[in-house]
């Protein structure tokens, strides 16, 4: 047993830096893949852009520190959205002002601005956007998280509600969106 411990400590000290930098590279890659999605989700929570951007970085730094501590994270993307959600709400509560309105409608690309964007597509996007504005807060959050590819149990985990409530919120959201885009 003594032999084993010594071996481990030697091996550990030898590869500590290597493991650390591997983990950093891994988290950096995840950051690159998902930072824009997390940033947009934070905007939907009502954070102003600069704060949303900073909060996004914080979330990934926290992910790294958590993994470095040896904690196991089975689903990093679900974890990232959950931490982003809680962090975002905390910031919103601290600011106590009106939620920031990202006014996406104005940014949906103009047909003149991009050749591949047809007039019809823009029209559909604007209509969908307006229908999304008519959803309840939970319906909208469920929808945005689903758009980011999260499954029902993951969304439930992010929002702290049951998976069946997620199903119900999404069903209502889809019904409203259909009505709004017909």
């Amino acid at each position: 047993m003594l032999f084993a411990s010594v071996s481990i400590s030697l091996a550990a000290s030898g590869s500590a830096r290597e493991a650390s930098s591997k983990l950093q590279l891994q988290v950096a890659q995840w950051f690159e893949e998902s930072r824009d999605d997390v940033y947009r989700y934070l905007l939907t929570l009502g954070l102003p852009p600069a704060q949303a951007q900073e909060a996004t970085q914080d979330v990934f730094l926290r992910l790294y520190v958590t993994l470095q501590k040896g904690e196991e994270i089975l689903n990093w993307r679900g974890w990232v959205f959950r931490v982003a959600h809680n962090h975002g709400l905390k910031i919103r509560a601290r600011e106590a002002g009106q939620p920031f309105d990202p006014a996406w409608e104005a940014r949906l690309p103009d047909p003149g601005a991009s050749a591949e964007q047809s007039l019809l597509e823009r029209e559909r996007n604007v209509r969908l956007h307006q229908a999304i504005q008519g959803l309840s807060e939970q319906q909208r959050r469920c929808l945005f998280l689903r758009m980011e590819g999260l499954r029902y149990p993951e969304i439930a985990d992010v929002l702290g509600i049951s998976a069946s409530s997620v199903g119900e919120f999404l069903r209502r959201a889809m019904t409203k969106l259909r009505k709004g885009t017909l």
């Binding site: 196991e72 309105d101 307006q130 758009m147 889809m174």
Partner: protein
């Protein structure tokens, strides 16, 4: 629409499209879809909306970018790593845990003895939540025993349908659920309890626990969430939510390997009241509810006590859970020793849900009649309102908004928001009528908080809907020459009287909105007054949200 007899529900179709059904359910839905045009059309509709959502997301991905370019995160990560010194044993454990992942790091594993040590360390790391889970469960079982808690009525949700199960009555549709619990050796007589959860967990040879805390229950109370999963047996995982304040089980979720997911939630507890002796209906209850003794001993001939404010509050809470206090023509009124819940023209599915939600209340009498209530006069419906030719103001509005479809959408959205505002104000008015200040003051502290949670919930949605109405309406009115005026908001200091003022403003909004959409020529100042009343409504709804949250100690 989503619950046509013989068809799959809208939620099932969505879950099917999202791959959220288990294999058996998925096959059943697929078979139905192959046979049923109507449900297939529903699926196509859902898939079209999904495609719309993805196109929309892609547009946002292209267009919505952060204000600054993203920094190189690697130096930040390195710094973050240095800031928190990690204890050596945790570092080792982390690397050891990495051995279990299919990673090339295994190459430095120094032999079988090391692996053994790794297993011990990992086991220890896992042990912590197990100890915590066992500890919390033990305390919760003790707390339930102290409360003399019997098996309470629960709402059972399975495959998109909801049922109420009481100690005395379990709907026949729940027989397969009962069988699944029995097969998993989980006590179906008292499924939502720490005792049954602990008994099942103790019977496992390989329980894996996770303990976290989070908001749960109707009013988002702070709860412990205990999840135990196992590789053996019928039940793959179970999660129990215990309210942190008193360790009472509020919700539970069960993932059965073959049967799928079952969710339970606690229904409002029935207060210990003396109810009128009623002839037993159906078979006697399996295990009797331990009934606390009434405060005053009453002889068999004593008259039943009149219903209390607390009882009425619980009935309102139960209706609020199924959102039957919004829009449905359902009225609650105390009538001596009974609480009368009446409704006219309520859809049969809703009726069943209301009956189910109120089943635990022995003193509730439900009366539904089929008469459809007359449509409210006054504001004409949007479709008929805008069927005629447009007046000059409407033409201008149409032009500013960007065409007829945009004007139609504007009409729909504003009417919808105005409806949502009115639905919430009516719900609040009903609460205010049932609980005037004097009656509210007579409630216990906990009941006062429940009442506050109920009204705060309505006030939050009201604030949101009034905000939306202002957001859509005010820029449009401004574009046609009617900017929002400066208005002074007035609101009574108590939540009950303030409801009346809110209703007055909301009715003004409704009236002017109707006039504007109907053709403002017969009400030339409709647009100006609409801008004023919408601004006032927004101010009042904001102020009301603060008022509704306040609880007198």
């Amino acid at each position: 629409m989503s619950r046509v007899q013989g068809h799959v529900t809208g939620e099932q179709i969505l879950r099917y499209a999202d791959g959220e059904l288990n294999a058996g359910e998925s096959r059943a839905v697929q078979a139905h879809l192959e046979a049923c045009w109507q449900c297939r059309a529903e699926l196509t509709g859902i898939e079209t909306t999904i495609a719309d959502c993805i196109r929309y997301r892609d547009a946002l991905r292209r267009e919505v970018t952060p204000p600054e370019p993203w920094p190189d995160i690697l130096p930040l990560l390195a710094r973050a790593g240095r800031q928190e010194p990690v204890p050596a044993w945790r570092k080792a454990a982390a690397r050891m845990a990495a051995l279990f992942r299919p990673a090339p790091l295994v190459r430095w594993a120094p032999g079988a003895l090391a692996l053994l040590l790794v297993a011990v360390l990992v086991y220890r790391l896992r042990e912590t939540p197990s100890v915590k889970a066992a500890q919390i469960l033990r305390q919760a079982v003790n707390a339930a025993e102290l409360r003399k808690e019997g098996n309470r009525p629960v709402q059972v949700q399975v495959r998109g349908s909801k049922w109420i199960r009481t100690a005395a009555h379990s709907p026949a549709e729940l027989a397969p659920v009962a069988a699944a619990f029995t097969a998993a050796r989980y006590d179906w007589n008292d499924p939502l309890s720490a005792r049954s959860f602990a008994a099942w967990r103790d019977s496992l040879s390989d329980p894996i626990d996770a303990v976290t805390s989070r908001a749960c229950g109707v009013s988002g109370e702070n709860c412990y969430q205990i999840t135990t999963s196992t590789a053996s047996g019928e039940l793959a995982a179970a999660t129990l939510w215990l309210r942190a304040a008193d360790l009472q089980a509020l919700e539970a979720a069960f993932d059965f390997r073959a049967f799928g997911r079952v969710e339970l939630s606690a229904l409002p507890e029935i207060p210990p009241v003396v109810s009128r002796a009623e002839p037993a209906v159906g078979p006697p209850a399996a295990p009797a509810l331990p009934q606390p003794l009434p405060a005053e001993p009453l002889g068999p001939a004593a008259a039943p006590a009149p219903v209390t404010a607390a009882e009425e509050l619980r009935v309102l809470e139960a209706l609020h859970r199924i959102q039957a206090d919004l829009g449905d023509p359902i009225h609650v009124s105390p009538a001596g020793e009974k609480i009368l819940v009446s409704g006219a023209g309520v859809d049969p599915g809703r009726q069943q849900l209301v009956r189910s939600a109120l089943a635990p209340f022995s003193r509730v009498e439900i009366r539904f009649t089929d008469d459809v209530p007359p449509a409210g006069g006054g504001t004409p419906a949007a479709s008929e309102a805008r069927s005629g030719t447009l007046d000059p103001l409407q033409k201008l509005l149409e032009q500013r908004l960007g065409g007829k479809p945009a004007l139609d959408r504007f009409a729909d959205r504003t009417l919808e928001a105005s409806d949502a505002v009115l639905a919430r104000i009516h719900a609040l008015r009903r609460l205010a009528a049932a609980f005037p200040a004097a009656r509210e003051a007579g409630l216990s502290g906990e009941d006062r908080r429940s009442l506050a949670a109920l009204r705060a919930d309505h006030a939050r949605v009201l604030q949101h809907s009034a905000g939306q109405l202002a957001q859509v309406m005010l820029p449009a009115l401004e574009s046609v020459g009617y900017p929002a005026p400066r208005v002074e908001g007035h609101l009574a200091a108590d939540w009950q009287s303030a409801c009346g003022e809110l209703l007055q403003t909301a009715r003004q909004v409704e009236r002017h909105l109707g006039a504007l959409l109907h053709g403002a020529s017969d009400a030339p100042d409709a647009a100006a007054r609409l801008a004023e009343s919408v601004t006032l409504l927004k101010l009042q709804a904001d102020a009301y949200a603060g008022l509704a949250n306040a609880v007198e100690r």
